[in-house]
C-alpha cells in the first residue's frame, strides 16, 4: 500500500479504499516489538472507533480501533505465527484485517497522509 493513498485516524490506524486496515508506522514504533496480535472474528459487524483488535508488545497491550463502520471480511492469519510483521511492514505484510466499508463517506472524512503527518507534528 502506498501510504499516500491511505486514510488515517487520530488513534493511529490506517484504512485503504478497499477496506484493508492496519496501524501506522508511528504506532508500531510507539508500541515497540509486537509479540501477539488478537484479531477480530470474520463476519463481525463493527461501528467506527470500536476496539476490534489487541496488539501486544512486551511493554503493554493496545486496543486497535476500527477507522470506519463495516463488516470484517478477512483477517491477516500470517500474524499469528509472525506478529513482528506489524513492525517490519505496517502498511504491507503487517495489515490486520479487511472490512466491507458500510459508508464510504466515513472513510473520506478521515485524515489524508499529509493531514496525518501534520497531526503527528502538532502532538
Amino acid at each position: 500500500m502506498n501510504p499516500n493513498d491511505l486514510r488515517y485516524t487520530k488513534s493511529h490506524e490506517w484504512i485503504s479504499a478497499d477496506g484493508t486496515a492496519g496501524v501506522t508506522d508511528h504506532a508500531q514504533h510507539e508500541i515497540t516489538d509486537v509479540v501477539f496480535v488478537e484479531l477480530p472474528k470474520v463476519g463481525r459487524v463493527c461501528k467506527s472507533a470500536e476496539a476490534c483488535c489487541v496488539v501486544e508488545s512486551v511493554k503493554a497491550a493496545f486496543d486497535i480501533y476500527t477507522p470506519v463502520s463495516g463488516e470484517i471480511i478477512s483477517i491477516n492469519t500470517d500474524l499469528s505465527g509472525n506478529p513482528g510483521l506489524v513492525n517490519q511492514s505496517p502498511y504491507e505484510a503487517g495489515w490486520l484485517y479487511k472490512m466491507k466499508i458500510s459508508d464510504d463517506s466515513e472513510r473520506e472524512k478521515l485524515m489524508t497522509y499529509e493531514q496525518y503527518q501534520e497531526f503527528l507534528k502538532s502532538n
Binding site: V35, F36, E56, V58, K59, A61
Partner: protein, 493 residues
Amino acid sequence: MNMNSQEKIIEPLLFEKSVPDRAGIPLPASDVPVTLEESHFPASYQRKTPCEWPELSEPQVVRHFTRLSQLNYSIDTHFYPLGSCTMKHNPKVNERLVLLPDFVNLHPLRPHVLSQGILEILFQTEKWLCELCGMDAFTLQPSAGAQGELTGILVGRAYHESRGEKRPVVLIPDSAHGTNPASVAVAGLSVVTVKSTDQGHVDVEDLKAKLNKEVALIMMTVPSTLGLFEPRMAEIAKTVHEAGALVYMDGANLNALVGLVKPGDIGVDILHVNVHKTFSTPHGGGGPGAGPVGVKKHLEDFLPVPRVIKDKDVYRRSLNYPKSIGRVHGFQGNIGVLLRAYCYMRLQGLEGFREMSESAILSANYLRAKLKTLFPKMSKEYCMHEVVVSGEGAFGPGIRTLDVAKRLLDYGFYAPTIYFPLIVPEAMMIEPTENETKETLDSFCQAMEKIIEESKNEPDKLKSAPLTTPVRRLDEVKAARQLNLKYTVNSNL
C-alpha cells in the same frame, strides 16, 4: 535455567549435574516387584522409559539451591521501589508467630469448639479492617487482590439483581490496573472506560456523560495509579450514587490512606484490600496472597459464606446468609497470610498506621522533590505514596525508560515499575514505602542522577545494561514470541 546460551552458565541445572546411581542416602534394594500390575494401574498409563530424575549427592543439592538463593535479589538485601506492588518490609516477628505449632497444625475441618482461637483472630481481623476502612463488614476469603475484585463485583451485581435491576456495565478510569477490566469480564459484565484529565484525575464530565441506569458500579483506585489523591472523589461518589450505582474502590494503594482516610467516609461502598501491599504479608513468589473485601451495611448480606460470627461468647462459622454470593474459597481464606496481617495490625495500632501512611507519603514526596530537576515532565502536584515520572525529555537521544531501569540494577537497586500507568509516556512508578531511610532514598536519587548523565555521555552502557548482574539483559521479545517453558533432558536450550 540457562537463559542465554551465549553467556556463561552461572549455575547448571540439577539434571546437567546428574550422574547415574548417585544418591544422597543409600537406599536398600527394593523387596517388592517394581513392575506395576495391569490391575493396579492401566498399562496405557504406565511409563515405557524410566523417568530421568537427577541423581546427585546431598551436598550437591544443598549447594545448588544455596547458590541459587544467593543470586536472588530481594527486599532482605536491597531497596525494592517496585511501584504498584509494594515490596514493603515484612516484620520478621510475623514469621515467628505464624510458625507456632498451634497455628501450623490447625485443620480447617476441626469443629469450631476446638478452633476458638483462630476464629477469634479472623473475627478480630475483620473488625480491624472495618475500623481502618470505615466499612461495616468484611470477608477474608478472597485469595488475592484480583479475586477480591471479582468477589466485590459479584456482590455489587447480586445487590442490583436483588432490587430487580439489571445493570450490565462497569465504569473504569483509563488509569486503572489491568486487573479491573479483567475482573469485570470474568463477572460477566462489560467495561466502559472513563477518561482522565491532563493532570491524571478522573474526568468527571466524561464520567457524568457515561453514567446511566445500565451502570452497576464504578471502580476507583484511590489514590490513583499515578499516586494522586482524587480531589473530586466526594462529588464522584455522590453522582454515582444518585444514578443508583455503587462505588468500588481498588485498595491496591491503601498504603497511603490507612489511619488518615477511611474509604467508607468518602463514599466507597465496596473495597478490596491487598494485605500483602498494606499489611506487610510477604508476596512476590506468585502467592499465596489475600484480598479481603469490605462492604457497607446495605451489601453485607451478599458477602461470601461461611462467615465467622460471634454467638454470645462462642465463635463459629455460619452459612445462614441466603442472599450470599456463595463460597469464593474452599475454607476461610489463606489463613497464614491473614495471620500475618493480624500480627501487623496489632503491632502498628491505630497511631502506628497513621505514622506509617504519613511516612510513606513523605518518602515519595521526598523522592519527587529530589528528582524534579532530572525529569522535566514531572507533575506539579504533590503525590501520595508513589511518584510517577515520565522519561520524556529526561534522557540522552535514543535512550528509553527500559534502559534506565536496567541500568539501575547495576547500581544495586531493583527497577521500579515501568511503562505503567499507560497514560504516562515512558512512565516510571517509584514507590519507596515507609520502611526506607533517608540515606537509602538519597543514594537512589544519586544513582538516578548518574544514570541520566550516562544516558547523555555513555549511552552504550545503558543500551547493554545490566552489566553486573548474574544474568544480563534478557531478550524479552524473543521470550514472548517463542515461549518455551518445557525442559527436555539432554536438550541444548
